[in-house]
């Protein structure tokens, strides 16, 4: 009996001593996910079933009522704003980052090392130092509450430059050299050869920067104060207990609101986690 258990465990790369560690670890990882399960479960409950004497992980009656009620709030507008903001920001960030990263890695011009060093050093500055002055500038110039004010301050992201620079430093340049021999200019080489080759870092950067923009909270919270210009994270935050416009709503509705914001990010992450993980670990470790 014991021997056959050991045999089975061995098949899974476990020893008898490992087994309790494996069981505890797996248990903890399941617990770690439970807040999301509780969020979804609550969002599918009837409002009167949210508060129970005993813990009910599964709704007694499954209802989409809370999600339908979300339409009473300007949620479609918030989603629309978020999509506009996140997609334009991401496109510009990745494109500008690719241009700069390529130039720093491949083109010889005086100062290119220095420029990169300055970009890197700027990461040390906490972005919050710029919040109040930027806000003041946007308010005084009358551009607060616009898409421009949501998008412009996010587009110079050093991470994007860094990922593309790393890629082009190590990627063989034979194809580009051949095109150069044929007399192609730098811009043509970049668009027709280099950029298509950089698919992997491009997807990783798009996925990470898009998530960053989709989840962006602090800056949109400050610069937008009209309901119709709010992004989804800022709109949803109004369901918070202390200072929001929709504080009085019940938890079933609040969890439906939160699910509308969380599920797109989670689904994107589940399907593209390979890119998330490779991008983030390259972006921070290989310095």
């Amino acid at each position: 009996m014991k021997r056959s258990i050991i045999k089975i465990l061995k098949k899974y790369n476990l020893t008898l001593l490992d087994f309790p560690i494996w069981a505890t670890g797996t248990f903890i990882s399941i617990i770690w996910f439970m807040p999301f399960i509780w969020m979804i479960s609550t969002s599918l409950k009837l409002p009167e079933h949210a508060i129970t004497k005993n813990i009910e992980w599964l709704p007694k009656v499954v209802t989409l009522e809370n999600y339908i009620r979300m339409l009473e709030f300007p949620i479609m507008r918030w989603i629309f704003n978020s999509i506009i903001q996140a997609s334009i920001s991401t496109t510009l960030t990745v494109f500008f980052g690719a241009l700069a990263g390529y130039a720093i890695a491949r083109l010889k011009f005086p100062g290119n090392r220095l420029v990169f060093a300055i970009f890197l050093a700027s990461i040390m500055i906490p972005s919050e130092v710029t919040l109040v002055p930027l806000l003041l500038a946007f308010i005084k110039s009358g551009y607060a509450n616009t898409y421009a004010s949501l998008i412009l301050p996010t587009i110079a992201n050093v991470f994007s430059v860094y990922i593309f620079r790393q890629f082009f430093l190590t990627f063989p340049r034979d194809l580009e050299d051949a095109a150069k021999m044929d007399g192609a200019g730098h811009f043509r080489i970049f668009f027709s050869i280099a950029l298509p080759l950089a698919r992997a870092p491009m997807i990783a950067t798009i996925v990470i920067i898009f998530t960053l923009n989709w989840n962006n909270f602090v800056w949109p919270l400050l610069v937008v104060f009209e309901e119709s210009m709010k992004t989804l994270p800022v709109g949803i935050a109004q369901f918070a207990p202390n200072e929001g416009s929709y504080t009085q709503e019940g938890f079933t509705l609040k969890m439906a609101a939160v699910s509308c914001l969380a599920l797109p990010s989670l689904i994107l992450f589940f399907f593209l986690q390979k890119y998330f993980i490779s991008g983030l670990s390259q972006g921070s470790i290989k310095e």
Binding site: Y12, N13, L14, D18, I28, S29, W32, F33, P35, F36, W38, I55, F96, L99, A100, Y102, A103, L107, K108, F119, M124, I125, P126, E128, V129, T130, V132, P133, L134, L135, L136, A137, I139, I155, A156, V161, G185, H186, W214, N215, N216, F217, V218, L222, L232, P233, I236, A237, A240, P241, F251, M255, V258, L268, Q273, F276, I277, L280, S284, I285
Partner: protein, 286 residues
């Protein structure tokens, strides 16, 4: 000589550099200027010298915010580092369901602050929250996680640890995967048990990444804000406030732009000093 210079390089980098200068660098200089002024939402700036800075040091709410953030750092930074390390070590074993573990430990990092805040407000609800219901089962009375001066702080820390673990975890996992397997195999053959392999090989090899995670997490925690806004709004009585929350409330609610710029600048220097101090301590140990 000019032939070998790719002049178009400047055009390539200008697309990035122009917004970088306007939106990342210029505001710092402008912020430094604003911090020496009194400036509301209407009207012109009024130069008052270092008065804002003197007031920051006299302000007991600013003091509370900076004191809190040190406490946040003392709770969150070690928790995230230790938990993240062990989570990565566990997932790296390649046992059954480890792919699931990898997805799960990272997933909270992929969602927005409002999600984190609101989920935990519900889980930590004093009367009906799931956590207190489970605590009741083992005989512990309801804990006012987010509604009391003493506990609000802990409630916010728990949510922050859950949120922040993902990045530390992924960085550790990448580091562990870079450790050559023959090194571990050789130690196994020499009869080193799991704990010896961990303390004598894995941890020393991981030291640079541990240091990096500690530094990144320290900076992230000193900038703690969004979860506070959603969960406690800095309260009760400033008990869970932080410097950035204080910057937010002086700028947005009271519209003291000069003063809140002075708090920002103070925070900037504060982060710089603490980060350098931490690096120095980590170097001295190595």
């Amino acid at each position: 000589m000019f032939k070998s210079i790719d002049w178009s390089g400047y055009v390539f980098i200008s697309f990035f550099t122009i917004p970088f200068l306007i939106f990342n660098i210029l505001p710092i200089i402008f912020g430094a200027y604003v911090s020496f002024n009194e400036w509301g939402i209407f009207g012109e700036p009024d130069w008052i010298g270092v008065e804002n800075y003197i007031n920051v040091f006299k302000d007991k709410y600013a003091y509370l915010a900076f004191k809190n953030v040190i406490l946040y750092a003392l709770i969150i930074v070690p928790s995230v580092t230790i938990l993240g390390f062990f989570a990565a070590l566990f997932v790296n074993q390649g046992w059954p369901l480890s792919a699931m573990g990898r997805t799960i430990f990272f997933s909270p990092y992929a969602v927005a602050a409002s999600v984190i805040g609101l989920i935990w407000v519900w889980l930590l609800d004093t009367q009906y929250g799931l956590i207190n219901q489970y605590l009741n089962i083992i005989g512990i009375d309801n804990i006012p996680w987010i509604t009391s001066y003493e506990w609000a702080f802990i409630g916010v820390s728990i949510a922050s640890i859950w949120w922040d673990l993902g990045l530390a975890f992924i960085l550790f996992l990448a580091g562990l995967q870079d450790i050559p397997t023959d090194l571990i195999e050789a130690a196994k053959i020499d009869g080193a048990n799991k704990f010896q392999r961990l303390s004598k090989i894995i941890i020393p090899l991981m030291r640079p990444i541990i240091n990096m995670v500690l530094t990144l997490q320290l900076i992230a925690t000193l900038r703690i804000f969004s979860q506070i806004l959603v969960m406690t709004y800095g309260g009760p009585a400033g008990g869970s406030s932080s410097p950035i929350f204080y910057i937010y409330s002086t700028a947005i609610e009271r519209q003291l732009f000069g003063y809140s710029s002075a708090v920002s600048m103070t925070l900037f220097v504060f982060i710089l000093i603490l980060t350098l101090f931490m690096r120095f301590m980590l170097r001295a140990r190595a």
